[in-house]
Amino acid sequence: MELIEKANQEALSRMLSADPVLIDVVPASTAIPELKEKMILHAGPPIDWADMCGPMQGAIAGIAVFEGWASDLKDAAAKAATGVFDFHPNHHFDAVGPMTGMTTISQPLMVVENRTYKNKAYCALNEGLGKVMRFGGNDESVLARLGWLRDSFGPAVGKALRSGDGIPLKHLVARGLTMGDEMHQRNVACSGLLLRELAPALARTADDNEELAKALAFIGSNDQFFLNVAMAMGKSIMDPVRNIEGSSVVTAMCRNGTDFGIRVSGTGDTWFTAPVEMPEGLYFPGFSEDDANPDMGDSTIVETIGLGGFAMGASPAVAGFVGAGAASEAGNFTRTMSEIATGENPEWTIPSMDYLGVPTGIDIRLVLESGLAPTINTGIAHKEPGVGQVGAGVVRAPMKCFEQALVAFAESVGVK
């Protein structure tokens, strides 16, 4: 249908013409004025407390204690079960969050501005590795780190960013792809490149040398620091693609540990959901698939813009890390995802694949016709709250989401 082809070209054009720039770090209450006391934003499509998985409930209990809304984890869980807290998806507030994706009023959020379309998107700072809230961690060490991010690190990075004109992300990602990152499970290059951009401004604006050193070491020691930047970037790129009449391009994919949800441009902000699948991957020593929680997080916004599993060919090391096969097979994932994409991104290319552009603009029609579900590279959380990450793997978006979306999309263009 001509209407659909034109609408999808418009969607692709908006994605490719985006100009995402990291401009600030601000408290969530500043970034999202609608956020109130006892309001908790989470990853994935809407979900009630009773349906949440272990890590999600663990993170919610932890963030409630952190915000002073509960005396301890038990009190927090009891309050959550009786409806004291108000739960909403990050996606409903221009935001995204990795894994459990906790966003509350005092959290520092990175701000990415899409300068082409003048919209902003937000994501919390990456907490680092080990026991962290995004994987359901909620003990004192986790809350202490969140306090430092809120009181010291976040304000320092915000001040540094405001002292300049922001950090353009498009070229940074392009360089990262040539250095072996796919921006979901491997962010080593981009984290380093970001640190190079940020360090002079951090040094120039720092009040305390010791805190400066701690901030630089924190970024430098966290290979996944850039993931949250890439996520805010992804959200800033995809939001202007929403609500294009007749477009069958996916504008969001996310999961809450229970359900996987997608949104499609032509059907507006409706969620199409299905039970989330288990990742297949490799486990850290001492853990196995018996410990794993189903797939979780808003980080699939990275695949929605053509990175992560779609850019696996750029990152042979990731194929091994997530248990997706030999390094020589990494390119097959990218080639396969090309079959469900509207086009390629000529600015984000993969040198080892003769500078093939990453597959861009997932078309629900192509997904269903080919039977090829989007491939997602993901971290694996322990199914019990408070334990943390136990591995990394690959997971497929459930076909049921796309089937529901197609029926609604067909109706939206008058096809029955």
């Binding site: 269903l368 016709e369 039977g371 096809v415």
Partner: protein, 75 residues
């Protein structure tokens, strides 16, 4: 990698035209294109028959309602 069925059937038609009878086809060495179920290709390979396997499954896993919508929506 999956390929559109149209391309597969075009090749099949060409082959059929070149070999205008089943008898003639089977009197010569057989080159097989196997579409869909991989087990058939594996069996032929075991018997040293040249076979090219094409990974294919019906649109929408064979769901007629989705397939009907796809045909109307085009790709």
């Amino acid at each position: 990698m999956k390929r559109p069925l149209a391309r597969v059937s075009m090749r099949f038609t060409e082959l059929t035209m070149q070999n205008n009878s089943v008898a003639k086809l089977l009197s010569e060495p057989v080159n097989v294109i196997n579409v869909g179920l991989e087990g058939f290709a594996a069996e032929l390979k075991q018997q040293d028959v040249a076979v090219t396997h094409v990974d294919w499954s019906p649109p929408a896993g064979g769901d007629p309602k989705i397939a009907d919508l796809l045909s109307k929506l085009g790709t």
